[in-house]
């Protein structure tokens, strides 16, 4: 729809004006990109305040279930109860102070929100690509970081733990379900996590749109 509109506008313009306009357009964003980037950046602000990830635990003794929520700056939910239980298998207790990430994650989200808004306002492609690729890179790194923490907690166990099952590690799943002794662990994004996923998908979609648009314009110039 938008593309059709653009090509229509192009046919109405006479030769030189049209060329100059094309030169400028190569560096500027599609209106849809600007709108969606602005929206994505704004809802990104919410992630600072919303739980990003949740790990749910079920056991025969916990029919009501236990849940831990990970925010940008804190842990919430049944952390104390989980800590109490983890000492049986020698897993370290979870403390917010141990996670350096909590000190800068809110600023990263704020930074991406700001950069996205600037990109949308300025309409510059390089700003948009910096925002979009930067965000995707961040998402991948965050998941790697999360995995490494999970690996660390699941494998580095106290050798004096009362319950020792040979070969057993207690790394929770990165995403999805895994049975760990009597506990079933279910790891899924929480509200903030779904927002991040949405923003990521929007970024990917827009990157493709922008790249396609550029190719299209490049071919139409010749």
């Amino acid at each position: 729809m938008m593309q059709g509109c653009v090509s229509q506008a192009r046919t109405e313009l006479p030769g030189l004006t049209m060329f100059n306009n094309m030169e400028k357009r190569k560096k500027s964003l599609l209106p849809l990109t600007r709108i969606l980037t602005a929206i994505a950046s704004l809802i990104l602000v919410l992630v600072i305040f919303l739980p990003i990830w949740r790990i749910e635990l079920d056991a025969p003794q916990y029919p009501e279930g236990l849940a831990m929520q990970i925010y940008a700056h804190k842990l919430a939910g049944d952390v104390e109860i989980i800590n109490g239980l983890n000492h049986y298998i020698g897993m370290r207790t979870l403390h917010e102070d141990d996670f350096m990430e909590f000190t800068f994650l809110p600023y990263i989200f704020a930074g991406f929100a700001l950069l996205g808004l600037i990109a949308a306002a300025a309409g510059r492609r390089w700003l948009f690509f910096t925002w979009a690729f930067g965000f995707l890179l961040f998402a991948v790194l965050a998941m790697v970081d999360f995995y490494m923490w999970e690996y660390d907690y699941g494998h580095n166990l106290d050798p004096k733990a009362p319950i020792q099952v040979p070969g057993m590690a207690y790394q929770p799943p990165l995403i999805g379900f895994k049975q760990l002794l009597n506990f079933g662990a279910f790891s899924i994004p929480d509200t903030g996590g779904w927002i991040l996923t949405g923003v990521g998908l929007i970024a990917i979609f827009l990157i493709f749109r922008e790249l396609k648009n550029k190719r299209h314009e490049a071919t139409s110039i010749h």
Partner: protein, 661 residues
């Protein structure tokens, strides 16, 4: 298989001979003692993991406890200690709960708990508190239905045999308690044969604070020296009135069995309590010097306190002439029950051959028209015929207590003829009767004494069980029976054993309570002065010959678990704080040789056990409530040295445990 066939062969012969006997005339009629219809089981079956529709709070009689059942399954959910010590959880043994059982007579760790009332708002059960009476050493207790704990006990002065108690007004303004035994004032003695001159009855009005539920004796009424048996609040048109059954209008003081059963009619005493309240508030009455205990539980400090009070306001009989009226009622009435409309009052005369029903509008009219039949101790006696709605003819033998359904029917228990009789309140026609096994006392319909009965069931609380269950020696189980009353005919659904002795109960919808139940006590709200909030605060301190152990409990260790330096002659106080903040993870505590009890400490709570070692040695202590896979490891050692020894005070856990110097 062979033996089975032999048996069935014998059984056939036996049945055939019984059939022959039954055919002959003059044989005994068959009893229906085991008669239940086909779908009874289905009606009381609650599948595993599902909840009952109703909570039932059933008095535990001489056990001094209150039991909690699920209905219709009849499953026992919990036994709550009220007036009795409970070694199961340390109630009445721990330092914090000791004050709850204090009285003007000192520590009284038992009582006879008869009647139960759930708090009401607008005449309907609201599920906030349960009030129960202590019959023997007159007391009224309040149980909080968020925690299912006894949170307050108030003693009643100038009272004995607190039986006509604890019946409440429509908005729980007052808990009202009448004396079964009329007596002189506390601390005064007379020859017993001067009963008529020197003995008095009292009715206590205990006010209940709207929000906190805290009780206070607002005033007492001085009334004739009768035996007050039961009572109930008026409602609807009879709002503001209270009705008491009385017996021993003969004022007998010996061989009451005979001497208190001479008059054809005793009384139902009608009290305009709104007017009594006005009198009390207007400054009427005299303040009497008394002594009674008021014990309160503080959920923040997890501790009880006992205060001795010294004064009670008494409204004297002379000031109550226009407030109290007597209604003749045959004969030695027990139950005194007001129907949901508030218009009809049923007196169940346990020696009467009929069941009188009085009408409130007629009572009002008789008072207005001065339609009196003389006086009793200066109080106006209303003319029986003038206030009578009618009599249920030949209802049964020994009527005791009546409750109501939501369709205008009444259900009366008959102790002597051992049955429940259903009758129509307006027409007084008998509609149905069912036998009970055996000798029913009280009965309960869910909400059956409120403005809003739920109908559905009637529960019989029986006094005799005989052959109903597997025998357990001379002391048999107590029992209850559940009947379906949703149809025209009552249908027996279930027999179930109860703790002893079930007198009255209240049954209310579970929905009023279940979602408000407390799961844990928040550790950050624990204001116990000797709590150890966190393992870092676990320690042992000596104050003279008192040793205070601030011990924490968490799965699966006690901190500290090694203690040395305690000596014979010391008094050791274990202040146990359960650090868990998880539902259904209590920890227990027991130490060898303790002369009191073990403790059960709820998550976030602190409780104290006093322990006085009498000999040197090593005394293990441990968690008594199976809390975790390593529950058996949740233990510790106390080293006690001989008196006068100089073993240094040392304690610890794991790496901090005392080691060689």
């Amino acid at each position: 298989m062979v033996s089975f066939q032999l048996n069935s062969g014998k059984f056939f012969l036996l049945s055939a001979s019984i059939a022959l006997l039954a055919g002959s005339s003059g044989c005994k009629p068959k009893t229906a003692a085991t008669a239940t219809s086909g779908d009874a089981a289905q009606k009381v079956y609650i599948p595993p993991g599902q909840y009952d529709e109703f909570y039932g709070f059933v008095s535990g009689g001489f056990s001094g406890q209150l039991s909690v059942y699920g209905f219709p399954s009849g499953r026992l959910l919990k036994v709550l200690p009220v007036f009795s010590q409970n070694p199961e959880n340390g109630y009445g043994y721990s330092e914090e709960t000791l004050p709850m059982l204090n009285t003007s007579h000192g520590f009284v760790p038992y009582d006879d708990l008869h009647h139960v009332q759930v708090s009401q708002t607008n005449g309907e059960s609201d599920g906030r508190w349960v009030f129960v009476n202590g019959n023997n050493t007159p007391r009224v207790a309040r149980i909080d239905l968020k925690t299912f704990r006894t949170v307050e006990i108030i003693e009643l002065p100038n009272s004995a045999g607190n039986h006509s108690s604890p019946f409440i007004t429509e908005n729980t303004e007052y808990v009202i308690a009448g004396t079964r035994f009329s007596v002189p004032e506390d601390g005064v003695e007379y020859p017993i044969h001067t009963y008529k001159d020197n003995f008095n009855g009292t009715i206590s009005f205990i006010s209940v604070e709207k929000e906190s539920g805290e009780m206070d004796i607002a005033f007492q009424l001085e009334v004739p020296a009768l035996n007050f048996d039961l009572s109930h609040t008026g409602k609807g048109p009879s709002s503001g009135w209270f009705f008491f059954s009385t017996y021993n209008t003969e004022k007998a003081y010996t061989l009451l069995e005979v001497n208190a059963s001479q008059n054809d009619k005793d009384f139902i005493m009608a009290v305009n309590w709104k007017k009594a309240e006005e009198l009390a508030k207007s400054g009427k009455g005299v303040k009497k010097k008394v002594k009674y205990a008021h014990n309160k539980w503080d959920e923040a400090t997890h501790s009880g306190t006992s205060e001795m009070k010294t004064e009670v306001l008494t409204l004297q009989a002379a000031d109550l002439r226009d407030i109290i009226y007597f209604i003749p009622c045959p004969k030695s009435p027990h139950g005194c029950d007001v129907d949901p409309s508030g218009e009809y009052i049923v007196g169940s005369g346990k020696l009467a051959a009929l069941l009188p029903v009085f009408k409130f509008s007629k009572i009002q009219e008789a008072i207005k028209n001065k339609d009196f039949d003389g006086e009793y101790d200066g109080f106006k006696v209303l003319k029986y015929e003038s206030v009578l709605h009618g009599e249920v003819e030949k209802p049964g033998l020994g009527p005791l207590h009546t409750e109501f359904d939501d369709k205008g029917n009444a259900y009366t228990s008959f102790f002597v003829s051992s049955e429940i009789v259903k009758w129509d309140v307006k027409t007084l026609k008998i509609l149905d009767r069912v036998p009970t096994y055996y000798s029913i006392g009280h009965l309960t319909v869910p909400g059956g004494d409120t403005r809003k009965p739920y109908g559905k069931y009637v529960v019989a609380y029986n006094k005799i069980t005989k052959d109903r269950y597997l025998p357990t020696g001379p002391e048999l189980t107590q029992s209850a029976q559940l009947f379906d009353i949703s149809g025209d005919k009552m249908q027996l659904l279930l027999d179930f054993p109860t703790i002893g002795e079930p007198h009255y109960s209240q049954i209310i919808p579970a929905a009023l309570i279940k979602d408000k139940s407390t799961k844990i006590y928040k550790i950050e709200e624990n204001k116990h002065p000797r709590a150890a909030i966190g393992e870092g605060q676990a320690r042992v301190e000596r104050e003279g010959n008192k040793v205070h152990v601030y011990m924490t409990m968490i799965r699966s260790h006690l901190a500290p678990d090694n203690i040395e330096g305690v000596r014979v002659g010391d008094e050791v106080y274990f202040h146990l704080t359960n650090l868990e903040q998880d539902w259904d993870i209590p920890h227990g505590f027991a130490i060898k040789g303790a002369n009191n009890a073990e403790l059960l400490v709820m998550p976030g709570e602190t409780q104290t056990l006093k322990w006085v070692p009498k000999q040197a040695g090593i005394f293990p202590y441990y968690c008594t409530d199976f809390c975790s896979a390593l529950h058996q490891e949740m233990s510790g050692y106390m080293r006690v040295s001989p008196a006068g020894s100089n073993t240094p005070l040392r304690f610890g856990l794991g790496e901090t445990a005392p080691a060689a110097n």
